[in-house]
C-alpha cells in the first residue's frame, strides 16, 4: 500500500500543529463556536448528542495492521473501547473530548493517518472498490488513481468551502463495487479499444433528500487529464451550485437544473485551457504511485486443496462461511476473506479494541499485513492462501468475526441513528439489532439468498436506504414519535436503482414483521434463479404492498413515554450530524 514520503508526512504534521492551535484558540474563546465549526469539521470532528465524534480517513478503505492497532489504541485510551466503521470506508470514534483530539491526530500522524476533510463542505475521502487489485473482474487497478486523487484533493485551496460536501468514488472492475452511481463524481477507470487507460466520468449522483443516479458527463477521459477534468467540474460547481438552501446545494441539483448537456458545456469550457497544462498527470507520477500497489510476493499455488474439501464436508459452519464470506481471488490458490462485523444483535460496523488487534494480527499472519474496510461496514483480508482458510476461520471465529452472512439479510447497513445523531428522527442501530436477531436463522437466510437491507435514521440517507433492496428510513411526524418508512427495489452496482416507498410508515416494533411479510411475498413469487431484487423488478410493488398492509400487526406497542431513551429535540446541539 501507499507509504508517505517526507512531503506527505510534513503536510500531515503541519496539519496537526495547525489544528492544535485552532483547538487552543477555541478553548480560550478566541474563536467562536460558529467560526470553529467549519475548522473542526474539516478535521472530521462533530459535536453529537453526548460527546464529540471524530471521523478518521481511511483512504479508499485500505489500511495496514499497524494502523489498525493504532485504532485499537485510540479506542482504549480516548474512547470507550470500540469504534464504528462507516459506509464511506472510514472509522469514527463516538465518545471523545475536544481537548484530546489534537493528541489523537498526532497519534494518527505517527502511522501516516489523518482526519483531513472527512467532513465539511469540501472534497471528502475518496472511496473505492474493496476488492481493488485482487478482484477477478478487474480491468484497471483503481488504487493508484485513488491515491493521486487523494493528494490532489487534500487542502485544495479553491474547493475547501464548496456549497456542500463532495464525494468521489472510483472503481476499476467490470462490476461496480464502489456505488459510483450514487456519488457526486463517480469514476470508472477502464481501457478503450486501443488499450489506453482512462475514466468514464459520472456526475450528480447522490442520495439524501433527492436521490438521483449519476449521469455520464464523459465517456472516456484519458488518464493524463483526469485531475484537470475533475478540477473543472469542481470549479463549475463552486461557482454555480446553490448556496441559499442546504438541501438544494449538492451538485446533483445543479446538474438537474442546468441539464447534463449544459453542465458538460460549462465544464468543457473551463477545461479548455487546463487540458495539457501543468496539472496534467505524468506517467512518472502514475508509475511512482503505482509502485506502492504492485503485487505482494504471491506463491505459486493451485486452487484445489483437498484438506479444505474434507473440512468443508465435516463442518457445516465452515462450509457456510466459505460460500458466503470467501470470495474468488485473481491469483490461483488465494482467496479474499470478508470478516463480518454484523453479528446478530450487535451494532453493524462496530468493532472492539480487542477485535481490532485480533484482525491486525490476522492480517500480519495471513494477508501481507493489510486490511480493507468495506462500504458495507465489514473488513476484508484480501490475500489469504486458500490453505490457510481453516486456521483463519478458527481464529477469527474466536473473535466473533465469522458470521456467514455477507450479502445476506442480516448484513445490514445502518447509520448511527438517534442515539448519537442530532438529525435522526429515529433509532437505527437498535432496529438493526432487532431485525438481525429475528432473522438469525442461517438456513432461512441462505434460502432467501442475496439481499440488501439498509437503514437510515432520517431522510439524509447516511445508511444509503435508497439503494438497499429493502430500505428503512426514520421519518418525522408531528407526534415526534419514531416512525419508519419502508421502501423496496433499490440497488447499487451496475444496475443501480432508487427504491420506492411501499406505503404509510410503521412503528419500531412493526418493522421486523414488515420485513417478514416482504420476504414471504418474495419466497412465494420467486422463480428458481431470482434474487429478491429480481422478483421486485418483475412483479412490481403491488403484491408486496398488498400483503404487508393486508392484516393487522402482531406487535404490541409500549406506552409512548417509555419508548425513548433519547429525545433528540431536547438537546441544543449544532446542525451538523454524523456522516452528513
Amino acid at each position: 500500500m501507499y507509504r508517505y514520503d517526507e512531503y506527505d508526512q510534513q503536510i500531515v504534521n503541519e496539519r496537526v500543529k495547525q489544528y492544535r492551535d485552532q483547538v487552543r484558540r477555541r478553548l480560550s474563546g478566541e474563536l467562536t463556536e460558529e467560526e470553529f465549526l467549519p475548522l473542526r469539521l474539516q478535521n472530521g470532528l462533530y459535536m453529537q448528542i453526548h460527546a464529540y465524534m471524530l471521523r478518521i480517513a481511511v483512504p479508499y478503505g485500505l489500511i495496514s495492521s499497524r494502523q489498525m492497532r493504532m485504532f485499537a489504541h485510540i479506542a482504549r485510551k480516548y474512547d470507550r473501547g470500540y469504534g464504528h466503521f462507516t459506509t464511506r470506508q472510514n472509522i469514527q470514534f463516538n465518545w471523545l473530548k475536544l481537548e484530546d483530539t489534537p493528541d489523537i491526530l498526532a497519534d494518527l500522524a505517527s502511522v501516516e493517518m489523518h482526519a483531513i476533510q472527512t467532513s465539511g463542505n469540501c472534497v471528502r475521502n475518496i472511496t473505492s472498490d474493496e476488492f481493488a487489485g485482487v478482484a477477478q473482474d478487474e480491468v484497471v487497478d483503481p488504487r493508484p488513481y485513488a491515491e493521486i486523487l487523494r493528494q490532489w484533493s487534500t487542502f485544495h485551496p479553491e474547493f475547501a468551502y464548496l456549497p456542500r460536501k463532495f464525494k468521489i468514488a472510483i472503481s476499476g472492475g467490470k462490476e461496480d463495487r464502489a456505488a459510483i452511481y450514487a456519488h457526486d463524481i463517480g469514476l470508472a477507470v477502464t481501457k478503450n479499444a486501443q488499450g489506453e487507460v482512462g475514466f468514464r466520468v459520472l456526475v450528480g449522483g447522490g442520495l439524501g433528500r433527492t436521490p438521483i443516479i449519476g449521469s455520464e458527463i464523459c465517456e472516456f477521459v484519458p488518464w493524463q487529464h483526469i485531475l484537470t477534468y475533475v478540477e473543472s467540474i469542481l470549479r463549475v460547481y463552486n461557482q454555480y451550485g446553490r448556496r441559499d438552501n442546504k438541501y438544494k446545494a449538492r451538485i446533483k441539483i445543479l446538474v438537474k437544473a442546468l441539464g447534463v448537456d449544459e453542465f458538460r458545456r460549462k465544464v468543457e469550457a473551463d477545461w479548455a485551457d487546463l487540458k495539457d497544462g501543468h496539472g496534467t498527470l505524468t506517467s512518472d507520477e502514475v508509475n511512482r504511485v503505482a509502485s506502492f500497489f504492485v503485487d505482494p510476493s504471491y506463491e505459486t499455488l493451485t486452487d484445489h486443496d483437498s484438506k479444505l474439501n474434507e473440512f468443508k464436508a465435516d463442518s457445516r459452519s465452515f462450509s457456510n462461511w466459505l460460500s458466503c464470506n470467501v470470495k474468488p481471488h485473481r491469483i490461483p490458490g488465494y482467496a479474499i476473506v470478508v470478516l463480518s462485523l454484523k453479528k446478530p444483535g450487535e451494532a453493524p460496523g462496530d468493532a472492539t479494541a480487542e477485535q481490532m488487534e485480533a484482525v491486525a494480527n490476522l492480517a500480519d499472519r495471513y494477508s501481507f499485513g493489510e486490511l480493507r474496510i468495506t462500504h458495507k461496514q465489514n473488513l476484508v483480508l484480501a490475500d489469504v492462501r486458500q490453505k490457510d482458510l481453516i486456521h483463519l476461520w478458527q481464529e477469527s471465529t474466536e473473535h466473533e468475526l465469522t458470521t456467514p452472512n455477507i450479502g445476506m439479510l442480516t448484513d445490514i447497513i445502518s447509520c448511527p441513528g438517534a442515539e448519537f445523531c442530532t438529525l435522526a428522527n429515529a433509532r437505527s442501530i437498535p432496529l438493526a439489532k432487532v431485525i438481525s436477531e429475528c432473522f438469525e436463522d442461517l438456513d432461512y437466510q441462505h434460502d432467501i439468498g442475496e439481499i440488501t437491507l439498509n437503514i437510515s435514521g432520517c431522510v439524509n440517507a447516511c445508511g444509503q436506504h435508497h439503494i438497499g433492496n429493502i430500505g428503512i428510513t426514520g421519518v418525522e411526524k408531528k407526534d415526534h414519535d419514531e416512525w419508519y418508512q419502508v421502501s423496496i427495489g433499490g440497488a447499487e452496482g451496475n444496475d443501480s436503482s432508487i427504491s420506492k416507498i411501499i406505503g404509510p410508515s410503521f412503528t419500531f416494533n412493526q418493522v421486523p414483521e414488515v420485513i417478514e411479510r416482504l420476504i414471504h411475498v418474495y419466497l412465494r413469487e420467486r422463480t428458481e434463479t431470482e434474487r429478491f431484487i429480481d422478483t421486485v423488478r418483475r412483479i412490481g410493488h403491488a403484491p408486496f404492498k398488498e400483503h404487508v398492509y393486508a392484516t393487522d400487526f402482531m406487535a404490541q406497542e409500549e406506552k409512548v413515554a417509555d419508548k425513548h431513551s433519547v429525545e433528540p429535540a431536547q438537546y441544543e446541539v449544532p446542525y451538523y450530524s454524523p456522516r452528513f
Binding site: Q18, E35, P157, E158, G279, N287, S291
Partner: protein, 177 residues
C-alpha cells in the same frame, strides 16, 4: 491596516459599500482612493475611469468576466467574502489571475479570518483585510500554516509531482500497467 505581500502595512483605500438607500447610479464616489462595487464601476465608469485611484470589488455572486477588458485599469481589485463559508471568492480570484491575467493587488475583504488565508494566497490573493475585531498580528500567521502543497493552483503554478522527484516504492519492480 491590511496584510499585503506577507507584511502588515498601513492602508489608505476606502471600500465603498452601498447603503440601503443607495443605488449604483446615485452612489457618490468620494475623492481619494476608493474601491467601488462592480455595479458602480459599470454604471459610472464614464465619470470615474480617468481617476488613477479607483479600485473595484466583486461580490461573491458576480462574475469576474464582467471585468474582462478592464482588469488592467485597476490598482486594486477586491473580492468580498460575505461569510467565510461562501467559497465562490476563491474561484473568482483564480479566474482573475489565471484566466484574465490580472497582475495588480488582489485583496480579500469581508469575513476574512486567519484560517482562510493560506488557501486565499494560493488562489491568487496577495492582500487581505482581516475582520477588524481580530488581531491582524494573529491573522498573518495563517499565511504560513503549511510549507508544502500537493496541487497546482495560481500559486504554485506546478503540482508537487512536477516540482520534485518524489520517492516511489523502492522494493517494487517496474510497474506493469
Amino acid at each position: 491596516m491590511i496584510i499585503k505581500n506577507k507584511t502588515i502595512v498601513a492602508d489608505d483605500w476606502t471600500v465603498l459599500r452601498l447603503q440601503e438607500q443607495d443605488t449604483a447610479e446615485s452612489a457618490i464616489v468620494a475623492p481619494g482612493k476608493v474601491i467601488v462595487p462592480l455595479k458602480v464601476w459599470q454604471i459610472q465608469r464614464e465619470m470615474i475611469q480617468q481617476r488613477k485611484d479607483i479600485g473595484v470589488w466583486l461580490a461573491s455572486d458576480e462574475r469576474p468576466e464582467d471585468l474582462k477588458d478592464d482588469v488592467h485599469k485597476f490598482a486594486v481589485i477586491a473580492v468580498d467574502f460575505p461569510k467565510f463559508s461562501d467559497g465562490r471568492g476563491y474561484s473568482i480570484a483564480y479566474n482573475l489571475r489565471a484566466r484574465l491575467g490580472y497582475k495588480g493587488e488582489l485583496r480579500a475583504i469581508g469575513d476574512v479570518l486567519r484560517d482562510q488565508l493560506f488557501y486565499m494566497q494560493r488562489v491568487g490573493f496577495n492582500a487581505f483585510a482581516p475582520r477588524p475585531d481580530r488581531k491582524i498580528e494573529d491573522a498573518i500567521k495563517g499565511l504560513s500554516d503549511f510549507s508544502e502543497v500537493y496541487q497546482t493552483s495560481f500559486d504554485p503554478g506546478l503540482p508537487l509531482f512536477r516540482c520534485t522527484q518524489r520517492k516511489g516504492n523502492s522494493t517494487a519492480g517496474t510497474f506493469n500497467e
